[in-house]
């Protein structure tokens, strides 16, 4: 195994240059001795070339979107256009400080103002905050807004949020973080909300409902209007988890169809890079009656230009980020939206849906698919046939896909489908790459009959073989023991 950066260290080696210090004040005069560090932090001593080789060596061991298809359901690994990167590096953005005089960041503020406007239009909402820096923080912001609405109306008895059993884990976790109780709603035989069950859950204490639409099964919730009535009748609000909004661009405006709050995952829907786990951005849109509760500031415009608007400070839920959110991520989404326009966004969703349905059509004879109807941007297959016949499970199939140069789908989620494989090809994949992936999946189905042992052994060709994550917990090793 390759060495860590710490093992490459050689005393006295340097990987940086700095101008000579032209101010001579002894450190002892300015930092009291009792506050000073006794020995230097044992960071590596390496050259720039050492650093480049080390991280490039590591980079070769990653899967990434330019290497191959990344069919992680609900994660939406679409291609990230390179123009985003060029523009994000313009000095007027990258080197702008959040407390610069507003007249010196008018361009940056205009990007935010226009993005607020475009996201409002896309979602059919009245206004959008760009501040939340991740989908989960968007959820938190949205639920805080719901809480603020109830507080303002004196709905102090409302203490529960209802979440479907197909929801992402962040939904119930968010409710707990805000201080709400969570009730879980069952899915019906068609993979939709079980309305009869829902009616037994909703009462005067219900504060809201979180619904991912399309759901994590890749199905559009057909009963939105009825659900909306049930909740609004008890003055509860409906939150749409926008993780799968990339299926609905220009097709459905959630804010005009009964949803009160929505979060966007800009890194999914609007193609900003995932960066190995962030940074993303999770703006939140709300209907008119909730606008007063949005975090401060939002960006507004008057005769003299764009400005950070703290005008609704008295009713706002406050702030969820030190400054104004992940600006550099917002900027990339802005470029994407401006380049696609209304037609392009609609086209992106259409192709995402077509690509998913095409893959489903190619795989449905080889893998069990519980909900065999036209899907939206993703669908959930499972390995129940393979498991029953050959003892091959979803993990085996996922690992074998790695051997064939593809990333695995999202596995074992949603929890309501045993051995789930949630497949989302995204619109940026071509027919050729979809066919290559389908061929690989079909080959694996064949291999599971002929040579199940091979699948238990997989992966065979990756930088390391199957990784023991149980050991990683049992013998916790979170940091390298630096020796010198």
């Amino acid at each position: 195994m390759s060495k860590t950066i710490f093992e490459l260290s050689t005393k006295g080696r340097k990987g940086y240059t700095l101008p000579a210090n032209d101010v001579d004040i002894p450190l002892d005069e300015i930092i009291p001795a009792q506050y000073k560090r006794e020995s230097k932090a044992r960071l590596p001593e390496v050259s720039e070339l050492d650093v480049m080789r080390h991280f490039i060596m590591l980079s070769h061991k990653n899967h990434f979107i330019e290497k191959g298809l990344y069919p992680l359901g609900s994660c939406t690994m679409k291609y990230n256009p390179k123009i985003h990167e060029t523009i994000a590096r313009y000095s007027c953005f990258a080197n702008a400080h959040p407390y610069q005089p507003e007249e010196t960041i008018q361009g940056a503020l205009s990007v935010m103002w226009e993005l607020q406007k475009d996201l409002s239009e896309i979602s059919g909402m009245a206004q959008v905050t760009l501040q939340p820096v991740a989908g989960a923080q968007g959820e938190f912001t949205g639920i805080k807004i719901i809480e603020a609405y109830h507080k303002a109306k004196g709905n102090t008895h409302k203490d529960t949020i209802i979440v479907p059993d197909s929801a992402h884990g962040t939904n119930p976790a968010t409710c707990s973080l805000v201080g709400y109780k969570v009730k879980e709603l069952k899915s019906d035989a068609n993979g939709r909300c079980d309305i009869e069950h829902l009616k037994t859950l909703v009462d005067e204490n219900t504060a809201g409902f979180m619904l991912t639409n399309p759901s994590t099964l890749g199905l559009f919730e057909t009963q939105v209007e009825e659900i909306s009535r049930i909740f609004h009748d008890v003055d509860a609000l409906i939150y749409m988890d926008g993780a799968n909004l990339n299926a609905l661009l220009g097709i459905v405006q959630p804010g005009k169809t009964g949803f009160d709050v929505i979060h966007f995952n800009l890194h999914k829907t609007f193609s900003t890079p995932h960066g190995g786990g962030g940074p993303g951005a999770g703006p939140v849109g709300v209907v008119e009656k909730l606008v007063p509760y949005l975090p401060v500031p939002i960006v507004s415009k008057n005769d003299s230009g764009y400005y950070l608007d703290y005008g609704h400070e008295d009713t706002s839920i406050g702030k969820v980020h030190t400054f104004y959110g992940n600006f550099a991520v917002l900027l990339r989404a802005y470029v994407y939206i401006k380049m696609l326009g209304a037609k392009g966004l609609r086209r992106a969703s259409e192709n995402a849906i077509i690509n998913a349905n095409y893959l489903m059509a190619r795989l449905k004879d080889y893998y069990h698919i519980k909900h065999l109807e036209y899907c939206m941007h993703e669908f959930v297959a499972d390995s129940s046939w393979q498991k029953k016949a050959n003892g091959v499970n979803t993990l085996d199939i996922a690992k074998r896909l790695l051997d064939k140069g593809f990333h695995a789908p999202t596995v074992y989620f949603p929890l309501i489908i045993p051995e789930a494989m949630m497949i989302e090809p995204t619109e940026t994949e071509s027919l050729d790459s979809l066919n290559a992936f389908a061929d690989a999946m079909i080959e694996i189905a064949q291999e599971s009959k002929e040579n199940p042992e091979l699948l238990h052994e997989a992966p065979l060709t990756t930088p390391v073989r199957r990784v023991d994550d149980v050991l990683a917990v049992k013998k916790l090793d979170p940091i390298f023991p630096i020796k010198n």
Binding site: L43, R89, G276, R347, K399, R466, P478
Partner: protein, 448 residues
């Protein structure tokens, strides 16, 4: 159409394979009355050239910190970033990878997080760090929540010397959970130790310290640690500037239980204030109460060294409503920048950056204190690379008078209620000439 590969012919062939003739047949699950008629109301689509020109036009009046002599700080700092940092983080291998859920094809991302965690622990003196939080503010908030999980005591003491915007975020994260936030008052720019001592009792669950504090002053972590220890159960949460830790005592040395901080200064651009990243480190015996992702070393099935996400049973995708936090995506790529930055600067470079920043800040403070009408707001408090001055006229006026001279004079403290105060940050990027230019400009302000 940008970024769509399939041609109209391929699209038709695919629809045929699916068994429909028209796209609309695929979305019959969407009730017709819910569908948008016509197109969204948006600008016409732009080509790469057009969007580039449009943005250049929109921003041509903007003036970034590199085009002027900037002394802005207050949570985001303009330290030098070696070119190799961007060369690494812009590699698609890191840039367009997802969260490392499939460990076998993530042995690039996982080890850098492991190395990053190690560096954070080395700076802070702690035993385990997570893969990052959103920013220092949310990291402090999560640390307070973690303390409550640990000791079930719902009272947290925050210092009046804490960044006011952090306080706002902490408040929103804690208010619904029955957590009581108390404020330890300030005296001469530092926490009032006597007042803090009087506040400490058995019901206090955590005490937060920010050092250097919001005004740049270095707090007495040792003395405060002794006060926190008066309640054995209380956890000591320290929010530290990572650059300062190259020369200042690691918080573990004065008894910190959880150490967090704003990581932007480590190799990340300022980007109008985001993305930032919060680092989060603690002791091993509290590992299972931590929020966020953690990477651990392990073995593959052939016994080779490998890395994996670990202790995932804490997290929302497993534990759902009972998770330690709702965090999913964090600020991973920013921690890669930090990891590469700390590798390049290394043991000596980090010390040099911290030392130069402190020396230059002190030179500037001394010079400004010599300008008639300007005084240091906290002349007796030790500080690192940031300090507050009292201005003879409202700070907003100082700022606007210096603006045409190409100087961003600092952060106007009017934002937080002090009209005649300006806060200035200095990094190693400043030359003596830059500092002298500011002093000269301030003298002229006085002369007007």
């Amino acid at each position: 159409m940008p970024y769509i590969s399939n041609t109209p012919e391929e699209r038709r062939a695919m629809l045929e394979k699916i068994g429909v003739t028209d796209f609309d047949q695929l979305i019959t699950a969407i009730p017709p009355q819910m569908r948008l008629e016509g197109l969204l109301d948006m600008d016409e689509p732009l080509s790469e050239l057009e969007i580039t020109r449009r943005i250049q036009k929109q921003t041509c009046g903007d003036v970034c910190t590199q085009a002027v002599n900037s002394f802005l700080g207050a949570g985001v700092y303009d330290h030098f970033i070696p070119a190799a940092v961007d060369a690494i983080i812009s590699r698609p291998e890191f840039h367009t990878a997802y969260t490392p859920y499939q460990a076998e094809v993530s042995q690039g991302t996982l080890p850098f997080i492991y190395e990053y965690q190690t560096m954070i622990c080395e700076l802070t003196g702690m035993e385990i760090a997570n893969a990052s939080m959103y920013d220092a503010a949310s990291a402090i908030a999560e640390a307070i929540l973690m303390a409550v999980r640990k000791n079930r005591l719902t009272k947290a003491i925050l210092p009046a010397t804490l960044h006011p915007e952090y306080l706002r975020v902490i408040r929103i994260y804690t208010e619904g959970l029955g957590i009581e936030l108390l404020t330890a008052p300030t005296k001469d720019g530092l926490i009032d130790l006597d007042a803090l001592e009087a506040m400490m009792d058995d019901t206090v669950g955590s005490v937060v310290l920010q050092t250097p504090n919001f005004w740049g002053n270095i707090e007495d972590g040792e003395a405060i640690g002794r006060l926190v220890r008066k309640n054995e159960k209380a956890l000591y949460i320290v929010c530290a500037s990572p650059i300062s830790l190259a020369i200042l005592k690691a918080p573990a040395a004065y008894g910190a239980d959880i150490v967090v901080g704003e990581g932007q200064a480590l190799g990340n651009n300022m980007n109008v204030g985001g993305p930032l990243f919060g680092f989060f480190a603690t002791k091993l015996d509290m590992a299972r109460q931590m929020p966020g992702r953690i990477v651990g070393g392990t073995l593959d099935k052939e016994g080779r060294r490998a890395y994996a996400l670990t202790l995932q049973a804490r997290e929302q995708h497993i534990r759902r409503a009972k998770a330690t936090s709702n965090i999913c995506s964090n600020q991973s790529l920013c921690t890669l920048a930090a990891c590469v930055y700390m590798s390049l600067m290394g043991r000596e470079g980090m010390v040099e950056v911290a030392t130069q920043s402190a020396q230059k800040a002190h030179y500037l403070a001394r010079e400004i204190a010599g300008v008639k009408g300007f005084t240091l707001a906290y002349p007796d408090a030790p500080f690192f690379n940031e300090f507050v001055i009292n201005t003879p006229i409202p700070a907003a006026e100082v700022i606007s008078r210096l603006l045409p001279q190409g100087i961003y004079a600092g952060v106007d403290m009017a934002r937080w209620g002090n009209d005649n105060q300006l806060m200035l940050a200095v990094t190693e990027k400043k030359s003596k000439a830059d500092l002298d230019a500011l002093v000269k400009a301030l003298q002229e302000v006085r002369d007007v």
